[in-house]
Every structure is written in C-alpha cells, then in structure tokens.
Amino acid sequence: MIKLIISIIIYLILIVIQFIIPKYVPLNLWLLYPNFILMFVIYLALNKGVMKGQITGFFYGLTWDILSTDIFGVRALSFTIAGYLAGNFNRKFNKNQPLTQIIVMGIGLIVTYFVLNVVYIIMPLSDTIYIPTFELSHLVILNILVNLILTPVIFKIFIFIDEKIS
C-alpha cells in the first residue's frame, strides 16, 4: 500500500516536472529541457529490471498520449520498448557507472525518436506530408546531448530518493 502511494506521488511529481514547469522556461531554452520521464523509465529499467522498466514506460507513455494531440498510443509504445531494452542491461553492466547510464539513456532516446518517426511515417496524423524529425537533426542532436549530459546528475538524484524511500 505504501509502495503504491509512493509510486503515485512520484508519478505526479514527474508529470508536473515534465508538463507544468516547462511553461516557465524561457522561450529559447525549451529545447534544452530534459526528458525526465524517459530518464525515470531508463533509471527504473536499469536498476530494477525489464518488468518494472517496461510497465513504467507503458503507463508514463500512455499519460503523455492522454495529454497530447499526438497519435494515441505512440509514446506508450516507444517508452515500453525503451524500458524493455534498458531493462536488458540490468545486471550486465555496472549501473552506477556514469558511462553506462549515458550509453543506456542514449539508446533509450534513439529508440524513442526512431519509433516515433516510424509510426508517423507509416500512419501520418494528418494529410500533411510528415517531415521526419531527422531533417531537424541539429535540434534533435542538441536535445539528445543535453539529456545525456544531465543523465548522471538526474540518476544521482533518483538514487538518493530511492535510498531514502527504501
């Protein structure tokens, strides 16, 4: 019961960080805002295994889909796959090494972008010809870099909170 309450609180905090705080971010800096939700999914998968990673990915992705105007289910799919893949690194590498965290987060980000683009190309949202995100590569690369640089720091915070809760 306590675990469930803690999960709900963490869920709400993360949703607030990802969806409410960004509106206060200066206009030119929004692109540098990290994907905290994906970071949490990857952190959970890497530390607690495939099962927790993919289920968390699915529910956080679904939440994202509920709030967005995007194709319903697209984020649930991409975060589930990211969680599953990251979970497979659990116990295989030293998860406390920043390099491991950065590499796994990088894989998660690339998988997410790839799945989103594939779905958009196969099933476009509107009649507009979809311009794949790879065409905006400098923006995507910048965003990936920011996420990767911040990954060890955010993971440290997650580990600290995790230890306090345990």
Binding site: L12, P22, K23, Y33, I66, S68, T69, V74, V119, M123
Partner: protein, 277 residues
C-alpha cells in the same frame, strides 16, 4: 536453480512486453474510435484535475513573489497614474464625439460589422517541451462555455493580437488547444499587401508553410500574413505572422513560402478563446 528462476522471470517479462506492445499498437491503429476516445477522456478527467491543482500551486507561489515586488512598484506607479488620469479625463471627453463620428461614417460606407465575439480568457496550465509546437492545455472548459474548434488568440507584448490555435478537445474544466504550428491545423490566410488568399499550414515546427501562392505573384520576405475573410473559424484581419523565406521553383504552380508565426516569438501564458455571442 537460480538460473531457472531468472529464465522464468525473463520469459514472463517477454510475455508482458509483447502484451504491452500489442495494446499500444492497437491504440495506434484504432486511432480515436468512440471506445478509445471514451477511455482517453476518462483517464484525462482523472489525471488533469490533479495536474491543475499542482499548476495552481506553482502559479500561486510565483504570484506571491511577484506580489511582493509589485507592492514596492505600486507606490511609484500611483504617482504617475494620477498624472495619467488627469490627461485621460481630458481625452475621454473627446472620445464620445469620435465614436459617434465613427459609427456614422461606417454606416455611410456600408461597412459590414464584424461578427461580435465574447472572449474567454484562460491560463495555459500544461505545455510539454518536446511537443512545444503542437498543443497546450488551458484552465477553461465546457463549464466556461468553451466549444470545440473555437479560435484561440494571444495578446503580444506590443498589444497586438495574433492567432494562437484552435480548441481541439473540450473537457469540463479544461480544454486542449492545437497550436497554429500543429500539423493538424491549417488556416485560410491572406498576404496583406499582395491581397492573395492562401492556406497557412503547421508542420510541428517553429514555422508555418504557405500553400497555394502562385509562382507569378511578387511576394517578398517581411510581408505580413493575416487571417483571410474566407476563414470560418477566425475573424478576418487577425495577425498570423510574417514571411521569412520565399522560394520560387522552376517546377509546379506554387511558391514555397515559410512564415514565422507571431505566437511563437514570445512566451505566452494566457490566451483568449473567442466565442460567438
């Protein structure tokens, strides 16, 4: 024994993974059928009130700090405002006569009155960075009279109004706005000086694309785009953006024109949804 347990849990994880992928793909392929839409709306109505409370807490905390600094400014403003009131009182006395003149001249020229609208002002409560150009959620919903497809405008720092987006989904206390730059949105617009009607279309980026501008029209960068009289959602003449790139090609009938929307040139926290009276 340990290997056995690991293999078992790995098998179970794989099964769950396949199940979750199938559910996601089902959601994607079914799109928003009535059943999926009902599930989405139910989940939304559970989730968003909690987020709204959180958003309010953030806004109020920010407002408290702002209030403190405002109290200091108020005293100084008070003095300058008194002077302004004096000047405005004099101007107001001339206002009514100007208004009467205006009405009379309008009737004389038989200018059609613009349809009257009622603005509903709303705060943006949710905006996600990776989908910055696609959607926002506002704190007004059906209970406040918000209707689907109603136009949303924003007020710029210089006092001008510009097109912001269109109401995409309406819930009891909140509504989702698809931004002008969303690929789901296209708006009939007019190149102001050239008097050419065309369609502005979003493509989930900072810019808009202008469609159906003939190759032979002389369009220059910097020209202003306003809503067209052909638009059934927006009133005519509302500012949309300005042209930043014109590419004339040797093929096709139309030019490739890129527009920077005014709504993306500054931070916007409040918008107005226009409802017909």
């Amino acid at each position: 024994m340990v290997i056995n347990i690991n293999a078992k849990s790995s098998k179970r994880a794989n099964k769950v993974f396949v199940f979750l992928v199938i559910v996601s793909v089902l959601f994607i392929s079914l799109r928003l059928t009535p059943t999926i839409l009902a599930i989405k709306q139910l989940a939304y109505s559970v989730l968003v009130p909690n987020l709204q409370i959180s958003s309010d807490i953030f806004t109020k905390a920010g407002g408290f700090i702002l209030n403190l600094s405002n109290i200091i400014k108020v005293n100084q403003e008070n003095i300058s405002l008194r002077n302004e009131i004096f000047e405005l009182t004099q101007k107001l006395s001339n206002y009514q006569s100007v208004l009467d003149d205006n009405m009379r001249l309008k009737q004389l020229l038989q200018i059609q009155e613009t349809k009257s609208v009622k603005p509903i002002f709303a705060n943006i409560i949710i905006r996600e960075p990776s989908q910055w150009y696609q959607w926002v959620i506002i704190n007004k919903g059906s209970i406040d009279g918000i209707e689907k497809n109603a136009p949303a405008i924003a007020v710029l720092l210089n006092g001008d109004i510009c097109v912001f987006g269109r109401i995409f989904e309406v819930y009891k206390n909140t509504a989702k706005v698809a931004l002008l730059t969303n690929s789901l949105i296209s708006v009939p617009v007019q190149i102001k000086n050239a008097n050419i009607d065309c369609i502005a279309e979003g493509f989930n980026s900072h810019y808009l694309k202008l469609n159906y501008v003939p190759q032979n029209s002389d369009i220059k960068t910097g020209e202003q785009i306003v809503t067209s009289p052909l638009s059934d959602v927006f009133e005519r003449g509302i500012k949309v953006g300005k042209i930043i790139e014109v590419v004339k090609t040797n093929y096709g009938q139309y030019q490739d024109i890129i527009v920077e929307p005014y709504s993306q040139t500054q931070s916007i926290y409040e918008i107005a949804v226009l409802l017909e009276k």
